[in-house]
């Protein structure tokens, strides 16, 4: 046995949120000088676990040891003092300050006078040491995303971090920047730092990590396994799980005519990087097309293009009508409903009542809208009717949307979108973050619409949800469709492999050769 203590050792960590067991007896051990990848789907509990290690949450149960010493963090400050540095996915930098100023922010040193020249030099030395090049005097807003990330890493190093947590650091980076980051990570461990690398991209993990811990639904499914000689299929299985339960009864259904036809769709994300690179598919009436994929592979952009929220090139036909670059109003007029990914930021107005939220898309139409006016009596009656029909739990229709629970808010959004009698429903992560009861209610509502003849484009990261609701599943990876499969017959691991960049043709070939060699 090796006697040197682990850099970080988390044992039997339990974190309980109201109604959710976010971490269920999780173990994680990080050796000194290794890159330890923490893998798992969204909501698997990775961020929660790291928030425990960085002092944001206190675990209900469990112990943490840093370099062999048991620790009890009551704030992030304690964790920093023990040499733990976290680089968040969303950077915490002040855009109008320089790199040096950002690095010093929140420190008690220097006390009063800032000898900028000396500090710049100090930071320059730190940069040299780890190959994190960025001009110390540049303002943050002038820097690329990759450079900003370097500043975040420098910040933790300047505070004396020995264990760095990188929370999905590659999600925001361009390919070249990813290579640079990997170089930096190697330089860091070469000098004795340890890194916890959170990701859900298998191929990156394979390239850079030494060991892997996989989380699924708050539990560890693989604890600290070695990267060498690892079976990718096995890993995909550990990550997505295989306990697919067909909890929802789905009627056999003959799809109708083509409602949505997307051809060679191309679009950029908010950073101007291509997010969709030539996507084509069709959805028929009475059919659910599921889009599977790890988040950030173009799903959000796809939904926004179809609903008129994002400019694009290519073609989007709805019942033969071209809707590329149309306004959201045009998409609504073409009977496209949209259940947006972000219920609070996009799907609802938090400080308006349920009534005002439910009439959002029909306030111009009779009997609610009447020329210049809105008939408040009819609007309230309409909201009450939806509240009852969709079982939205709230004291009254005057209740503000921000006071609804996630499930009830989502039911309200669904009620609004479905009651417009849509031809096409674009549903993005419709059940994310909801409890089991609400999930079932919402999945049921979607299937009712399918049976009524609506075309449904279901974008989800929950593979189980896609498998139980979809009639066909298309897998998206880096803005391209890797293949379309039948959920009844597909091998789940094949989806897992496509989600991480394998084309369906390649998988079939490899399984064929596998069979041959078996013979």
């Amino acid at each position: 046995m090796d006697d040197t203590p682990y850099a970080a050792e988390m044992k039997d960590i339990v974190i309980r949120f109201p109604g959710v067991l976010a971490n269920d007896h999780v173990n994680l051990t990080v050796k000194q000088g290794e890159i330890h990848a923490l893998l798992g789907e969204n909501g698997a509990g990775k961020s929660t676990l790291m928030n425990v290690l960085s002092g944001l949450y206190r675990p209900t149960e469990g112990t943490i040891k840093i370099y062999g010493d048991p620790v009890h963090f009551s704030s992030p400050k304690d964790a920093i003092a023990k040499g733990i540095g976290m680089v968040h996915q969303h950077f915490m930098l002040v855009p109008t300050l320089t790199v040096t100023e950002n690095i010093l922010l929140g420190l008690h040193q220097p006390r009063f006078f800032m000898n900028m020249k000396k500090l710049n030099q100090q930071i320059g030395e730190l940069q040299e040491q780890y190959g994190l090049r960025v001009d110390p005097e540049a303002m943050i807003w002038q820097l690329s995303v990759g450079e900003q990330q370097r500043v975040e890493i420098l910040k933790t190093l300047f505070r004396g971090a020995k264990i760095l947590i990188l929370d999905e650091p590659t999600a925001v980076l361009a390919p070249q920047e990813i290579d640079d980051l990997m170089g930096t990570m190697r330089a860091l461990i070469a000098q004795g730092k340890s890194i916890i690398f959170i990701s859900h991209k298998l191929q990156e993990v394979e390239v850079v990590a030494d060991r892997i811990t996989v989380l699924r639904k708050g539990k560890v499914t693989a604890e600290g396994i070695d990267i060498t000689g690892l079976d990718r299929r096995k890993l995909a299985q550990l990550m997505v799980g295989r306990d697919v339960v067909f909890s929802i009864e789905k009627t056999v259904h003959e799809p109708g005519e083509v409602v949505l036809a997307v051809h060679d769709l191309r679009a950029e994300n908010n950073k101007g990087v291509p997010a969709l690179r030539g996507i084509s598919f069709e959805v028929r009436g009475g059919e659910v097309l599921g889009i599977a994929g790890v988040s950030g592979n173009g799903q959000s952009e796809l939904a926004e293009c179809i609903t008129g929220l994002r400019p694009a090139q290519g073609s989007i036909l709805i019942h033969g009508q071209e809707l590329i670059n149309a306004s959201p109003a045009k998409a609504i007029a073409a009977n496209v409903s949209h259940i947006p990914e972000d219920r609070t930021r996009v799907g609802s107005a938090p400080n308006l009542s349920i009534t005002d939220n439910t009439i959002m898309k029909c306030y111009t139409e009779e009997p609610i809208g009447n020329g210049l006016t809105i008939n408040r009596t009819n609007a309230r009656a309409y909201a009450r009717q939806l509240k009852q029909a969709y079982d939205i739990l709230a004291p009254s229709v005057k209740t503000l949307a921000c006071k609804l629970s996630g499930g009830n808010l989502q039911k309200m959004i669904l009620a609004r979108e479905i009651s417009a009698n849509p031809q096409l429903i674009v549903a993005v992560q419709p059940t994310r973050g909801l409890d089991v009861g609400a999930i079932e209610a919402i999945q049921h509502l979607l299937l009712v619409q399918r049976d009524a003849g609506a075309a449904i484009l279901l974008i989800s990261e929950e593979l189980e949800e896609l498998l139980s609701l979809s009639d066909r599943i298309a897998v998206i990876y880096e803005g391209q469709i890797m293949g379309t499969v039948d959920p009844e017959t597909v091998d789940v691991y094949a989806i897992g492999q496509m989600m991480t960049g394998a084309r369906m043709e390649d998988i079939q070939e490899s399984t064929e050769t596998h069979h041959e060699s078996a013979i």
Partner: protein, 367 residues
């Protein structure tokens, strides 16, 4: 420190009853008066004497009450202007400039003249109102357009345009229309004066010396119109939706850029109407410093009224009283002190609307 009790803030999950905001607002004004009284006492004053004097100078008699309302009139209109813009989270800090442009455009009716001065009084006053609104709307249009088209921060543009409007006015009254070298235009023809109660003194003795003019009715009507827009109209719904969550508004298919321009113009028009009411109802000429900062006080008024048009009227009367009292009470800073404390109290009372405060007993720790 271990106290035997613990003060807990609990988020209110149920709907607030309608009277709660009213009660907290009134309560905070009362608290503000009490605190001012304590400060006065500590600095060697006599709070009760001052309070009595304050009452007499503002609400104590018909003429003083009329003074208070006259001061409140421009505040009502400017407060409504700010409330309309703030409802959409457009930070129009330019009501002062829009007020001046409204006054200027309304004065053009007389000074150019745009309508012949022998037209009926209704025509002259009507054209002044329309011109006043056009002037204010124009001064709202520029920042609105820049915001909508190029996302230029409206706080900066509206603030800067205030000075442009004031200097623009100065140019005309110093240079072009100066009355015998004074910084004012000649007195308007009586036909361009908003009717005052004093004008009817020959019929009703009691009205003699009472300066209350028709402008206050314009303010009331404007408040009703704004209330109707907010509560009953499609446009008002769009304003609320964009103001609360522009992302959701875009998703619901609303035209945000057009609404930014329209709301800024409407807000400007209301402030411009205040300028018209002031030149036509009070000073009867265009001159320097027709506004002692009404445009800025309007921001506070709208805020204290929680953007409710009828509350704007109540708050304006209170602030009108403070302006009058500031003239009467020495040191005049006292009224401003009170203004400031009221603002602080009302803003901090917001916490009562969002949280319940509970004092709970804590079991002493057994050692």
């Amino acid at each position: 420190m271990n106290l035997p009790f613990d003060v807990r803030f609990e988020r209110r999950s149920e709907d607030n009853p309608w009277w709660l905001p009213v009660a907290t607002a009134l309560g905070s004004v009362v608290v503000a008066f009490v605190i001012s009284g304590i400060i006065l006492k500590l600095t060697g004053g006599q709070p009760l004497v001052v309070g009595k004097f304050f009452w007499q100078a503002t609400f104590g008699s018909w003429p003083t009450f009329s003074d208070t309302i006259v001061k409140a009139t421009p505040l009502i209109l400017v407060g409504l202007a700010c409330a309309v813009a703030f409802k959409m989270k457009l930070w129009n800090i330019g009501a002062e400039g829009q007020f001046y442009m409204g006054a200027f455009f309304a004065s053009l009716v007389v000074l150019v003249p745009i309508v012949p001065m022998d037209s009926p009084k209704v025509v002259i006053l009507g054209s002044m109102m329309i011109m006043g609104m056009i002037g204010g709307a124009l001064w709202g249009f520029f920042p609105g357009f820049l915001k909508a088209k190029f996302n230029v921060n409206e706080i900066i543009t509206t603030l800067m345009l205030n000075y442009v409007a004031i200097l623009w006015n100065n140019f005309w009254i110093f240079d072009k229309w100066s009355d015998a070298g004074f910084q004012m235009t000649p007195m308007f023809d009586k036909k361009a004066w908003l009717p005052r109660l004093a004008d009817y003194a020959h019929q009703y003795k009691a009205f003699s010396g009472i300066t209350l003019h028709l402008g206050v009715l314009i303010g009331f009507v404007a408040a009703i119109v704004v209330w109707w827009i907010f509560q009953r109209s499609r446009w008002g719904y769009e304003i609320k939706l964009i103001g609360d969550n522009p992302e959701a508004a875009r998703y619901a298919g609303l035209n945000i850029t057009r609404n930014i321009v329209l709301v800024m113009m409407f807000s400007g028009a209301l402030a411009g109407l205040a300028g018209m009411s002031e030149v036509s109802g009070v000073v009867h000429r265009l001159q320097e410093r027709i506004s002692p900062g009404y445009g800025f006080t309007g921001i506070i008024v709208a805020w204290l009224a929680k953007l409710n048009p009828f509350a704007v009227i109540v708050v304006s009367i209170l602030f009108g009283a403070l302006i009058v009292a500031g003239r009467e009470i020495q040191p005049s800073g006292l009224a401003q002190l009170l203004q400031g404390i009221i603002l602080f109290m009302v803003i901090s009372s917001d916490v009562l609307l969002r949280y319940k405060i509970r004092i709970v007993r804590v079991k002493p720790l057994t050692a």
